[in-house]
Symmetry: C2
Subunit: 411 residues, 2 copies
């Protein structure tokens, strides 16, 4: 199959009516013209016109034979996956992961590299552009064939403007025009920028355990603690783009002072750095020979991964630290579950998969504190999308916007 798009210098635009068919195919993979007509309620004539336009523009292909209902077997429509490509860029504080997919969202190439958001947006995004161009070249893809770029960043985002707002981890990024920056090199691309936990939630919805779930939360526990909120199958970003910023909810009124100035914030008490800090304290106080020896080996420091290792070895002090983190996260989550009543909660992030101990402690706290009605059908589990959830979500978000999925009335 040869791309029709190779020589284009601007994206092929589709009408809202055409977007209805593209959305349909994004969900159903393939349909016949008769099915398009049945599902949309359009006349045969209108359906034909819309579908023919999309085939002519190269967005759709007709192939194979569908189920016959008595007469000639109908031809099936599907998205022309190789008409163009989508890039997903998942920016972490100290690394970036970049992937390219076809228009069906199937990943063609992926690469992760260390970097540092503290070097500022211009330098960091130049790295991203270089990596993406290299990845594209390796797969014989021309920059003009990239029709959409989804970008996830570790900070609050004003989604409509595509800029970062008051990012604590990203000095110098405030209001930087990420969208325009990428469009310099990828002139055909529609660029969407969102918070990293939001794109993870989109990833979970599109490729993970939440494909048919209306309301769910995705909690990322790592250096910080954040939450992606899916309300009625759409990301809830709130009025300033800061929704889901749960790291500074109070977990203990008598807890230590957090860097935000408040007392007992969840992040300050239960995330990675707090876990490492408590482990070092336990080692110093002689509560764990294993942690003590690990700390000696590491030159006097411990990481969350050391605590994970010690948990797996059955170290009681480490287990206690993880259980305490899980309880605090679960206590806060219990309130959010009463408030939001999701049917699913997915846990992910570097600290999450500590041999089930964290998950079990979270579940126990939620079940004890939430109302029976809110937990009767509640499922709390690990994210099912794996470590590439970020780029998968970024690609999905870009595809959704290319096909106007996020505009439920776009027709």
């Amino acid at each position: 199959m040869i791309s029709k798009q190779g020589t284009l210098s601007a994206p092929v635009l589709i009408s809202p009516t055409e977007a209805v068919v593209m959305r349909l195919l994004r969900n159903q993979k393939q349909v016949s013209r008769v099915e398009v007509s049945e599902i949309t309620g359009w006349s045969r004539a209108k359906t034909s016109q819309v579908v023919n336009n999309l085939v002519e523009k190269g967005y759709l292909q007709e192939h194979g034979d569908g189920m016959s209902r008595g007469g000639r077997k109908p031809r099936l429509l599907r998205i022309n996956g190789l008409l163009g490509y989508i890039a997903g860029i998942d920016i972490g504080a100290t690394s970036v992961e970049i992937a390219i997919s076809d228009l069906n969202g199937t990943i063609i190439g992926i690469v992760a590299e260390p970097s540092d958001v503290r070097k500022g947006p211009e330098d960091f995004l130049n790295d991203c552009t270089r990596i993406l161009l290299r990845l594209a070249t390796a797969h014989n893809i021309h920059p003009g064939q990239i029709l959409g770029i989804g970008v996830g960043v570790p900070g609050p985002v004003d989604f409509s403007r595509g800029v970062v707002v008051a990012p604590p981890l990203m000095p110098g990024w405030e209001a930087f025009p990420i969208r325009a920056f990428f469009q310099k090199s990828f002139f055909s691309a529609f660029v969407v920028v969102d918070n990293d936990v939001n794109i993870m939630a989109v990833g979970e919805q599109r490729s993970g355990g939440a494909e048919n779930v209306d309301h769910f939360l995705l909690i990322k526990v790592g250096t910080g603690i954040g939450c992606g909120i899916m309300a009625n199958r759409r990301i809830h970003r709130g009025s300033d783009g800061s929704a889901g910023d749960i790291g500074h909810i109070c977990a203990d009124q008598n807890g230590p002072i957090c860097r935000c100035g408040n007392r007992g914030c969840l992040e300050a008490m239960a995330a990675g750095p707090a876990i490492a800090e408590k482990a070092m304290q336990a080692a110093r106080e002689g509560k764990s020979a294993l942690l003590n020896s690990l700390m000696d080996k590491n030159g006097g420091v411990l990481t969350p991964e050391d605590v994970n290792y010690a948990c797996r070895e059955g170290d009681e002090a480490s287990l206690e630290i993880i259980r305490a983190s899980g309880k605090m996260i679960g206590d806060v989550l219990a309130g959010l579950i009463n408030f939001f009543n999701p049917s699913h909660v997915f846990i992910t992030g570097g600290i999450a998969n500590f041999g089930n101990y964290l998950l079990i402690a979270i579940k126990r706290a939620v079940l004890r504190r939430s109302l029976p009605l809110a937990t009767a059908h509640l499922d709390i589990s690990f994210s099912q999308t794996g470590p590439t959830i970020g780029v998968i979500g970024a690609i999905s978000l870009a595809l959704d916007h290319l096909f106007m999925v996020d505009d439920p009335c776009g027709n």
Copy 2:
């Protein structure tokens, strides 16, 4: 103007396409045919056909003259308010308020009566039917002219089925078919049932301070504490209809045991009964001469209203109780604001309007605990709809459903 609908025995149904025009008019009050065509993007011919159908069915009227753009002044379309009527029923634990409006939502008659949900659904709803029939008769309205009924109940609701689920205050109501019950007497009516705080949030959206607000919370502080959640201009009900049930979020890990079995629930510590209980304790401990004398007068008990009175008299013990309630509500709210990032929070309910003291304490706690980004544009204020917010919301919800406003893609 004489209703065309008087003799109908079943509601006039409108098509999804026709609903688009009705929604338009519900928001804009009056438009010309040219404007309908411009806003919908329909051809003149299609617009004409849809509008003519609605005029013929009696839903729309043409009247007056709009702004001319050079040629003949266009006639304006508006909803035929007297084609039929809508009833709003706001069920409280010990009372019911019932109103009738025209199809523009303008209230024609309203009545409140004491009752008791504990006598069970059959008896209670028979009371409602009798009151509504009497109100209708007083305004020369035939039961068949009631095209929609919105019902608010003080408990969790499975909205799609229109039934109450596990209601703590409503023994015997579980799964009772409220919708079918009302349709026996009001055979033309489309019946929607929702939680009382949700209908208040709809009331605030339609007639109060939230007409152009995408994301807001409405907090009701009375005997209990509940929250209506508006996400992207739609009520967020959650996966079991229990969203917004914030009364049992933990306000103090060392607080007293709540009737739900957990410790330090917000409702048990900050709502009406807790306020009265603390006031009686203060009186008994000699901390307030005023509360003591009020308690003597009342035969040994105090109500929240007594505390309100004492606050207005400057009684320091009472002020302290209200400030403590406000702080606890504000601390919990701070977490929900970080999570949900609304632009507005509206406070209402019997305890709310205690001379600003509660509101000020809530605001102070939120500003101290929430993240700057989430509070930069946040407005916390009293509900602006007044005591009839419940029936106004119930009527709005019924109207929305009659015109399919809740289905954003209905076209």
